[in-house]
């Protein structure tokens, strides 16, 4: 009973937070679309018909209804919220298809690129960080540490275009565009891997530096452990926690990065979907994509949050140090304190 109880107490608030963020995203996008000046339906119609002068009022009203932009603000809000809870993200103003349909069609492509980019980026930075820490020469370490900021400073569209220029046009090795062939994923993924890896590297190397400066690393070295052992058993495990946290940040970054990369490489994906939706002033699609992206991010953040107790023993429930003056009788005998904190149930004190 207590096991399930503590698990619930740990998980419940975080799940609640997740639900709250999803609701808040919906509200924010809802407000953004309606509060900012400009009439999206009119604009969409204008884009479709080519000019903004002649507008059929009936058509306008029908479109408004379709986009959920009729009725009072509150009515719209509740109606759309209701639809959202049943998985209905509305209908596209431009294509007439349901937003869910459109998104589902392009998600696999984006996921492939984003996933591969994450893997490449994280693995490369781990290797780089390892080398930077183990390398015996100071100049090499300094050099390796200076490289990643470059990865962030170069915009993805520039990297992508350069990669195309080199690998597709000059060397003819990889395709420059399209989504059909398997290796069309490679160049886009590598393009995104640069900034992703760079961001992760900076967080990781900072965490490593902090761990290296700590007291327990001193103790480990004073015990006579070699560099590799100290790094592997002491530094790495403690540098993991802040690094895992940054993965949430990276997912957010990737979601935005796909817009640019898919445009550069002419791939079908969420990013391209949004770009064309903006061009067509198709607010339903934009809103739908944003909600989906926010949900994915919040889900990732939730999973990361839930993984903390697994990584860091200090965040696990229950045990804390016994109070320093805890012994009930003051004696000069070795500390006769309870196994677990004196205020918790002694029966539950079985060691793990």
């Amino acid at each position: 009973m207590t096991r399930a109880g503590t698990a619930l107490r740990l998980v419940a608030p975080k799940v609640l937070q997740f639900a709250f963020v999803v609701w808040a995203t919906y509200t924010v996008t809802f407000l953004l679309v309606r509060v900012l000046p400009g009439d999206p339906v009119l604009a969409a119609l204008a884009v479709q018909s080519g000019d903004a002068t002649t507008v059929d009022p009936e058509q306008l009203a029908a479109l408004r209804e379709q986009a959920g932009l009729d009725g009072s603000l509150l009515e719209q809000y509740l109606a759309q919220l209701g639809a959202l809870l049943t998985g209905d993200l509305g209908t596209s103003l431009a294509t007439g298809r349901t937003v869910v349909d459109m998104i589902a069609g392009v998600v696999p492509g984006s996921l492939a690129v984003a996933g591969l980019a994450l893997v490449i980026g994280v693995l490369t930075s781990v290797v780089l960080a390892f080398l930077a820490s183990i390398a015996p020469w100071r100049w090499l370490r300094d050099l390796l540490v200076q490289l990643p900021p470059l990865g962030v400073a170069v915009p993805a569209f520039v990297t992508g275009l350069i990669l195309i220029s080199v690998f597709s046009f000059s060397l003819g090795l990889l395709p420059a565009s399209g989504s059909r062939s398997g290796d069309s994923v490679i160049l886009p993924a590598v393009t995104l891997a640069f900034p992703v890896g760079a961001i992760f590297f900076q967080v990781f190397i900072t965490a490593i530096r902090e761990a290296e400066a700590s007291g327990y690393v001193f103790t480990a070295e004073a015990k006579g452990l070699g560099r590799a052992a100290v790094f592997g058993r002491h530094v790495l495990r403690n540098a993991l926690l802040p690094s895992v946290t940054s993965i949430g940040l990276l997912i957010g970054y990737l979601a935005g990065g796909t817009a640019v990369v898919e445009t550069v490489f002419s791939r079908e994906g969420i990013g391209r979907l949004v770009v064309s939706a903006v061009l067509a002033r198709d607010v339903s699609v934009i809103q739908g994509v944003i909600i989906v992206v926010a949900v994915v991010y919040a889900l990732a953040a939730l999973l990361v949050d839930l993984s903390y107790p697994l990584i860091d023993p200090r965040l696990r429930p229950g045990k804390a140090a016994p109070k320093p003056a805890a012994p009930s009788t003051f004696s000069i005998a070795p500390e006769a304190d309870a196994l677990t904190s004196s205020t918790t149930d002694p029966q539950n004190g079985a060691a793990k």
Binding site: A222, K223, P324
Partner: protein
């Protein structure tokens, strides 16, 4: 085969800061006889920690050994290739690091951290090493060692962690153990137990010990020989009794005189105290209670009673010392007395007036009569303000006088705490710990309060500076007739400044009474244990 396990000659250590080189150790000599215990004593900045780190060749990143020899069992440690050095570290020379709270890997179990060294140096198999680790935990006095081995560092108290570190240092049967301030972070009773343990281990196994400490009392109790360092040089060295009772160097003499454990006597004011009408106590607290809610991840919130029915009184112009170890509730009690916290029940009377439930503006007005001096000289001053602004802030808060008058008053207060007027425009970062604490005292006195609550005001200071600040407090009390509620864990300090003593433990008052009586003839067993645990008591 010499009699000495370690012979250090002309050791010099430097640190590179930007382009400059700062000399931390300027050529010291040191010997540790086989199986002997040597204390290396010095205040902050003396270079003593650098010596211990240099011996195992593990200085901070920007440190370097400039010269010298350190002959350990026939080999010069400072010339060995790192590979040989690693074999010696942990294997022949054990090291007990300073801060138990940050010296253990929080993500590894205790047993695993012990096993590391055992497998490396003694080449034990996994099973054997695990069993040996459990035995070591038992040897250092931990109860239920098998269970302890499977716990993580955060599940142990400071004293227990220090024992683990001691066990780790002794685990591979070294010939020498270097201990860097092994007990500074611990309560005095725990300190005594831990040092007893170390001494026992050393005696049983014939290990030599080089103990680095700032506490002369500890050196007096435990070491056979003492080496006194100051500004990177050895100032005095020899058998403990000789150095402490007949110091050759003036510095050592001052250090011995200032050491609270060794030599404390009630300080007297330089001038005659101002007469105060003693009709009622300036502070009276009755049956104060305070309960907090402990929240741990995944557990239901639990109530924790920090203060459980405490009563005491501070006579006008006198000092009451509130003594206890960590967790005793003394700090919470003092905070309630100063009305920073609101008691759950009970009453606080200031100068006869009940101030227990004051809030808002009325509470703010109370600040003119009660002020606080905090423990940490680094944290209680806003780093962005100048000294003059800091001292004048309470005057400004109550609109007392114009800008110029406030500055003049600030300078007057600087003078009263014996700080040079030139410091008025400096920032806290440019001052030493002792100077900052004087600024904090000046600030607290700006409104001429009737009562000062001082929370361990000298614990973070070097011993010689402590003495000066305490003398200053005594003088100021005589001048101004301010009452002091003085919180401390250090009985040496209590001896120097208290008129009355209140001993607390686990939220309750265990004993209270006039200082002279309580210190010489304590009635309660806990008070007696506290007094006996003060390092240096044995030597007095």
């Amino acid at each position: 085969m010499s009699d000495n396990i370690l012979e250090v000659s002309d050791l010099q250590v430097r640190y590179r800061v930007g382009r400059r080189r700062i000399e931390a150790v300027r050529g010291i000599d040191l010997t540790v006889p086989r199986g002997g215990i040597v204390a290396l004593v010095g205040e902050s900045g003396s270079g003593k920690s650098s010596v211990s780190q240099a011996l195992i060749r593990r200085l901070a990143g920007n440190g370097e050994i400039a010269a010298g020899r350190a002959v350990f069992d026939g080999q010069d440690l400072l010339q060995l290739p790192m590979k040989r050095m690693r074999a010696i570290r942990g294997g022949s020379i054990g090291f007990v690091p300073q801060d138990p709270n940050s010296s253990l890997n929080p993500t590894l179990r205790i047993g695993e951290q012990l096993v590391e060294g055992l497998r490396l140096h003694l080449k034990l198999g996994r099973e054997e090493a695990a069993q040996r680790a459990v035995r070591i935990l038992g040897d250092v006095g931990l109860s239920h060692p098998e269970a302890r081995a499977r716990q993580y560092p955060h599940e142990l108290s400071g004293g227990m962690k220090q024992r683990v570190l001691i066990g780790m240092a002794w685990s591979c049967e070294p010939q020498l153990v270097i201990a860097d301030e092994p007990t500074s972070a611990l309560d005095v009773t725990v300190q005594r137990l831990v040092l007893d343990q170390m001494q026992q281990l050393a005696a049983d196994r014939g290990t030599a010990v080089l103990m680095v400490t700032h506490d002369l009392g500890v050196a007096a109790d435990r070491a056979e020989q003492v080496v006194v360092m100051r500004h990177g040089q050895v100032v005095d060295a020899g058998p403990t009794a000789a150095v402490l009772h007949a110091p050759t160097h003036e510095y050592t003499r001052d250090l011995v005189a200032a050491a609270p454990g060794l030599n404390s006597v009630r300080l007297t004011a330089s001038a005659a105290p101002v007469a105060t009408e003693a009709s009622h106590p300036i502070l009276e607290i009755r049956e104060l209670r305070k309960t907090f809610t402990l929240r741990r991840p995944g557990a239901a919130p639990e109530p924790f009673t920090a203060v459980d029915g405490v009563s005491l009184a501070v006579p006008a112009g006198r000092t009451v010392a509130l003594v206890g170890e960590s967790g005793s509730g003394k700090t919470t009690t003092a905070r309630m007395a100063a009305r920073i916290e609101t008691p759950d029940s009970g009453s606080v009377l200031l100068d006869g007036q009940d101030v227990t439930t004051l809030r808002g503006e009325a509470l703010r007005q109370l600040r003119r009569d009660v002020q606080v001096v905090y423990q940490n000289p680094f944290g209680s001053l806003d780093p962005r303000m100048s000294v003059a602004q800091i001292i004048a802030e309470p005057l400004r808060a109550f609109g007392l006088g114009g800008r110029r008058e406030q500055l003049t008053e600030a300078r007057r207060l600087l003078d009263a705490v014996q700080l040079a007027e030139g410091l008025a425009d400096r920032r806290p970062a440019e001052l030493s710990g002792g100077q900052r604490q004087r600024v904090a005292i000046a600030r607290a006195l700006a409104l001429s309060p009737k009562l000062l609550v001082l929370d361990e005001p000298v614990s973070a200071l070097d011993v010689s500076v402590q003495q000066q600040v305490l003398q200053l407090l005594v003088d100021l009390q005589a001048e101004r007739g301010v009452g002091y509620l003085f919180i401390t864990h250090d009985f040496g300090v209590v001896r120097q400044i208290a008129d009355e003593v209140v001993v607390m433990r686990q939220g309750r008052v265990v004993e209270q009474g006039p200082a002279e009586r309580l210190l010489s003839a304590p009635e309660h067993e806990y008070t007696r244990a506290l007094l006996e645990a003060v390092p240096g008591t044995a030597a007095r």
